[in-house]
């Protein structure tokens, strides 16, 4: 098995699975403890088309969100951002919380096919709209071309900003964007990478655009 073998696929245990299966009891319990009880509940039901969860608190309101083609009926505090609803209520943790103030782009998702910041949106604003997160883009066995390109170009280091970068990059393919790297950099300026993987991110995006 080598990088030159066209049939080669990278081993793909997720970080979460890796920690849960091979880590110490401490690591496993940390991860288990991290996922809120209600989110676990929602995740357990995620095979059905409907999930329900969310805090049973005063003032919580019902909402049905259409995420990655599946409807999720949940109860949420009206203050819940789309980001927090995705992560904590629906248990789709691929979307990341960086700054929580619209300054880093880690929380980028698509609403009706356009990229937006899920941290500066209330979940309640989006009932009935088509929400796509990185989980809806591809699977480890059938990656979106942009995901495959990020992998091939080594377009990440720690990976925390990566889902936001990829969601932005996929949206960029449909936006007016000049052919040069400078145009890509300008339209990707809302996605900050603290590791500084920018050069490879631009290369990954340009590779997909060239092959399109």
């Amino acid at each position: 098995m080598s990088d030159n073998d066209p049939k080669w696929r990278p081993p793909n245990p997720t970080r979460r699975k890796f920690l849960l299966t091979t880590g110490s009891g401490v690591a496993a319990s940390m991860v288990a403890g991290y996922v809120p009880a209600l989110a676990k509940d929602a995740a357990a039901k995620s095979n059905s088309a409907q999930t329900s969860g969310g805090p049973n608190i005063d003032g919580a309101v019902p909402i049905t969100l259409r995420i990655n083609g599946k409807e999720h009926s949940v109860r949420i505090d009206p203050r819940t951002t789309l980001l927090d609803c995705l992560r904590e209520t629906v248990a789709l943790t691929g979307t990341k919380k960086g700054c929580d103030h619209g300054q880093c782009g880690a929380c980028t998702v698509h609403v009706n096919g356009r990229r937006v910041l899920s941290c500066l949106n209330l979940a309640l604003m989006h009932d009935g709209e088509e929400i796509t997160t990185v989980e809806g883009l591809g699977t480890p066995d059938a990656m979106h071309p942009m995901q495959a390109s990020f992998l091939a170009c080594d377009a990440y280091q720690c990976g925390y900003c990566t889902s936001g970068q990829i969601m932005s990059a996929v949206a960029l393919l449909k936006e007016p964007c000049g052919p040069d790297d400078a145009s890509v950099k300008e339209l990707m300026s809302g996605n900050i990478c603290r590791c500084g993987a920018y050069a490879n991110i631009v290369a990954a995006i340009q590779q997909v655009r060239k092959n399109a």
């Binding site: 203050r79 990229r115 500066l120 309640l124 007016p176 300008e186």
Partner: protein
């Protein structure tokens, strides 16, 4: 975040009636219209804005861009910044507006932010955004720590002893130069406000930023018919190449005939407490040959009344060079 009631009014009349119950439409409003949320949700997380009721107006039918009978453009209040910037008619006839919008924020934010929300964008002054600090804009009478504190990015035009906060919008600078009109529907009916009259100088009431009262809903913005053959440019200078607010910017709309400037509309950004139209620069250019002498004298005129803060004397020369370069580049285009 302060708890609030989330309401989606079925139509503009219901939205206006609900908002009319607010004590004010200015800082500290207890009822707020929610557009893209890019400013409001940010400020609600910081507890700078604490509305009891949030009115989601995103599904009102105010999202069209249409030609007006007089050859101008009618832009619905809920048109997203990216849709406006990439609209073929805006790119053809109002290029300065497209350039200004695309120089602001990021692709994600431009997809969310609305035209009316951008008109109402709030200052980035760090003291305004920090509830642990005094701020006359946020809490009238509490003082302005910016005057003796961190004020490098703040205003050199239009400031008062009570507030030196900069208006951060790029879009508004272009709209000021294009002589846009803001159309409002409110409890007392509909009216139109020339762009230059919409934002208020801070004076001794910096918490009042616009002429809007409770229940007043911006429904659309109109642009007059484009001036044939005019040259447009928005030039923005900032600390980073992208995703940063202006230290100085200039929106320029020039008409040149036979080497002479027959018409000039000039506005500056990043330097004023409101989007800064400069009639002084326009007068300095009118009828003059389109050359370096005229460009520099216009820049001198635009900044003649500038008063620097303790950390931003550099902005005066920066703004002059920004405008001079914008005029030079536009004239040569």
């Amino acid at each position: 975040m302060h708890i609030f009631e989330f309401i989606r009014p079925p139509d503009a009349a219901a939205a206006i009636a609900a908002a009319a119950q607010s004590k004010t439409a200015q800082q500290g409003a207890d009822v707020r219209f929610m557009g893209g949320g890019t400013t409001l949700i940010d400020l609600m997380k910081l507890n700078v804005e604490t509305p009891d009721r949030v009115l989601d107006i995103n599904r009102l039918p105010l999202d069209k861009i249409e030609a007006t009978p007089d050859g101008g453009l009618k832009i619905g209040a809920l048109v997203r910044n990216s849709d406006l910037a990439y609209h073929p008619k805006v790119q053809k006839d109002y290029l300065v507006l497209s350039q200004a919008i695309l120089n602001g924020a990021t692709a994600q934010i431009r997809n969310m932010a609305t035209v009316s929300g951008n008109v109402l964008q709030r200052t980035r002054c760090v003291y305004f955004r920090d509830t642990a600090m005094p701020c006359n804009k946020r809490e009238p009478g509490s003082g302005c720590p910016a005057i003796t504190g961190h004020n490098r990015t703040l205003a050199i035009l239009g400031a008062s002893d009570h507030c030196v906060a900069t208006n951060p919008s790029d879009m508004c600078v272009a709209m000021a130069a294009l002589e846009a009109t803001i159309h409002v529907q409110g409890p007392k009916g509909s009216w139109a406000i020339p762009f230059g009259d919409f934002h208020l100088l801070p004076g001794n009431t910096p918490h009042r930023e616009t002429v809007l009262g409770p229940g007043d809903l911006i429904t659309h913005v109109t642009l007059p018919a484009p001036v044939l053959g005019s040259k447009h440019l928005y030039l923005k200078l900032r600390d980073r190449a992208s995703y940063e607010f202006a230290l100085a910017s200039a929106a320029v709309v020039l008409t040149i005939a036979g080497g002479n400037i027959t018409r000039a509309r000039i506005a500056l950004g990043g330097v004023g407490t409101k989007p800064w139209r400069s009639p002084e620069a326009e007068a300095a250019l009118a009828g003059k040959p389109a050359n370096e002498v005229a460009f520099r004298s216009a820049a001198e005129a635009a900044l003649r009344n500038a008063k620097p803060q303790s950390e931003n004397k550099f902005k005066i020369e920066l703004a002059k060079r920004c405008l001079t370069h914008a005029l030079r580049t536009a004239a040569a285009s």
